[in-house]
């Protein structure tokens, strides 16, 4: 309840602070800190990032060690989250799988983000190319994103790397749309006009004036798409089109667990829970960032 009233104070305070020329991102950070959801989301993500990075320290089982006397054991003191059909420790596999899943999300968002920002800026800034780029995006958007990823995997072939590329391509259109819209809004501003009138070069205007001003929506979108990408990548693995067992990617773990569902529910439950929590973390953080960075969008 207390946080509610505090967030209500923000608009007035924001005005004061802005006039006192405190940095925009400093303000946003303060606002974000008061957003309970964003802080919970951020903590979840931090937890999973740390556990992935320090996986070897957090477990004494090797990730792929098979022990035939320990197969399909339920959660216990020795195996916190149980073991799989080859006696591998599920907890260990989820720790290492986090590396794969988070990396897939990171790579997909990085590729899609850079290509999307590039195309979006070009479409928004050089209006002559706008029509062509947006027509292409409309064609790409005619595929629901996961379907598109599936189609791309069909072309590139099954596998982890290809799944990553496929997911990246499937989220490019949403980046292009958002970036183009923001560029269109910014390029009409007086300071851009005056920079152009002064003969400043296009790339300089783009880098110095446009990109910093469209950073907020890109950050918000990237955060939300991070979750979406992990979910899509997991779905591809689950369909057998992405990461292949024995890779401990979370979707692949669920894929394997499926066959043992009635005997060993823990093989399916925990990796799925990990996916859900991480995606939830990105969604919570993304919502919070949107409120903090861009009060106009609801």
């Amino acid at each position: 309840m207390l946080t509610k009233t505090e967030t209500n104070v923000q608009p007035a305070k924001l005005d004061e602070m802005e006039s006192a020329s405190v940095s925009f991102f400093g303000m946003a950070w303060k606002k974000l800190r008061k957003n309970k959801g964003a802080m919970i989301g951020g903590s979840i993500l931090l937890f999973f990032i740390l556990t992935s990075v320090f996986a070897p320290v957090l477990t004494h089982y090797p990730v792929n060690e098979m022990r035939y006397d320990e197969t399909l054991k339920p959660p216990s003191r020795e195996h916190w989250l149980g073991t799989d059909e080859f006696g591998r420790d599920i907890y260990t596999r989820i720790l290492y799988g986090g590396r794969v899943s988070l990396l897939m999300g990171l790579v997909a968002v990085s590729i899609a983000g850079s290509v999307g920002v590039f195309l979006g800026v070009i479409a928004g800034y050089y209006r002559r190319l706008d029509l062509y780029i947006m027509q292409l995006m409309d064609i790409l958007l005619a595929f629901p994103s996961l379907l598109m990823a599936i189609a791309i995997v069909a072309v590139l072939g099954v596998g982890l790397t290809n799944a990553m590329i496929a997911v990246a391509i499937s989220v490019i259109p949403s980046f292009v749309r958002v970036v183009r819209g923001s560029v269109l809004a910014v390029r009409e501003k007086e300071y851009i006009e005056s920079a152009r009138a002064l003969g400043v070069r296009d790339w300089k205007i783009i880098v110095r004036h446009i990109l910093p001003n469209i950073a907020s929506p890109i950050i918000v979108l990237a955060t939300l798409q991070f979750g979406v990408s992990i979910l899509s990548a997991a779905a591809l693995s689950f369909l057998g089109l992405g990461a292949q067992p024995p890779n401990p990617e979370w979707g692949a773990l669920v894929f394997v667990g499926k066959s043992f569902l009635s005997q060993a529910w823990w093989m399916t439950l925990y990796p799925g829970l990990a996916i859900m929590l991480v995606v939830l973390g990105f969604n919570l953080l993304g919502d919070g960032l949107r409120d903090a960075l861009d009060p106009r969008i609801k």
Binding site: T5, E6, N8, V9
Partner: protein, 332 residues
């Protein structure tokens, strides 16, 4: 011109309106306001924006959201204290014996419903007429407010009408159940000048036809001169001057009223005297101060104004909240 010997329709006693603040406290937007409206009378409530006049009108209809603020005092309408009646009873009063029109005709009508449906609703809510009768009555009301092609308008949407037309529709809606009291909150502010005059004329006509009392909320003294029988000037949540319309316009007493009149161009005046704006702004409501709230802007302020908020003094039929008239009888 002033209507005398009429029955009292509304009496507001010691009305206080409080708004909750973020830190759990509250600020008083309206302070111990008293007012009465007689049947068929037009009372104008005048003041700058932020003086509490719109809030007062909303509180009479009990339309201030519960989570935003609360009101104290008595609102006695046709013998009932509206602050004590049930929500159900209040709903049977709203739109029926007490109705309201708002400043923004552009946004006050629901964009997705046809005009006929929106007028019909208020009749449906407060009568037991059949569908056909409701339609007939709606068309009749549209004709009464001077809308040509009333039948056709019934099936049109608000966005197809001009601002003046929409305000006419709002008036038709408000008058559909022949209310005893019509609250008009800046009814012409958003309209073109020529349309303004038409709407005011319409309201005066309807008032005569329906014997409806009007509480007119406005900042425009021209509108006041056109419409009002009596005037109350509000400043910082308080009544600072009250008189019948002639007295007030001819011989204003409170420095604020005088300032308001001096800042309006007078068409009849040939003398070309310059307009004098009132300096400064209405102080923030949250700021608690001991003296007269107009002190900082008042050209005639003296020591006492700074220390103590004046009570209302009585000068004949006129009430003034100003230390300049301290020798007079104290009302409240």
């Amino acid at each position: 011109m002033a209507v005398t010997e009429e029955k009292e329709l509304l009496r507001v006693e010691q009305l206080c309106i409080n708004f909750k603040t973020e830190d759990g406290g509250h600020i008083q937007a309206v302070k111990q306001l008293n007012l009465t409206i007689k049947e068929g009378e037009t009372l104008a409530l005048v003041g700058e924006s932020g003086c509490g006049k719109s809030v007062t009108s909303l509180s009479l209809m009990r339309l201030i959201p519960k989570n935003a603020g609360f009101t104290e005092g008595k609102i006695i309408f046709e013998g009932k204290d509206l602050n004590r009646v049930s929500e159900r009873e209040m709903r049977s009063i709203r739109g029926n014996s007490m109705s309201m029109i708002f400043q923004e005709p552009m946004t006050s009508l629901n964009p997705v419903h046809k005009i006929g449906k929106q007028i019909g609703e208020v009749i449906y809510l407060h009568s037991s007429l059949s569908k056909a009768q409701i339609r007939e009555k709606s068309i009749e009301m549209l004709k009464k407010v001077g809308i040509p092609r009333a039948e056709k308008i019934m099936d049109e949407y608000p966005h197809q009408l001009s601002g003046g037309m929409r305000q006419r529709v709002m008036i038709a809606m408000a008058m559909a159940c022949t209310p005893k009291l019509l609250i008009a909150d800046e009814p012409t502010t958003a309209l073109d000048v020529t349309i303004q005059a038409q709407i005011l004329e319409l309201m005066n006509e309807l008032k005569k036809d329906f014997q409806t009392a009007i509480l007119l909320i406005t900042h425009d003294l021209g509108v006041v001169a056109e419409m009002a029988d009596r005037v109350m000037v509000m400043y910082y949540g308080q009544i600072v001057e009250q008189a019948d319309v002639r007295t007030l316009l001819k011989s204003p007493k409170h420095p604020y009223t005088i300032g308001l009149l001096n800042s309006v161009p007078d068409m009849d005046d040939e003398s070309d005297k310059p307009l004098v704006p009132i300096m400064g702004n209405v102080p923030n409501l949250g700021v608690i101060q001991a003296g007269c709230p107009f002190y900082a802007r008042c050209p005639q302020a003296f020591q006492k104004c700074h220390l103590e908020n004046p009570p209302l003094f009585k000068l004949g039929e006129q009430l003034v909240r100003c230390w300049l008239y301290e020798s007079q009888e104290v009302i409240a």
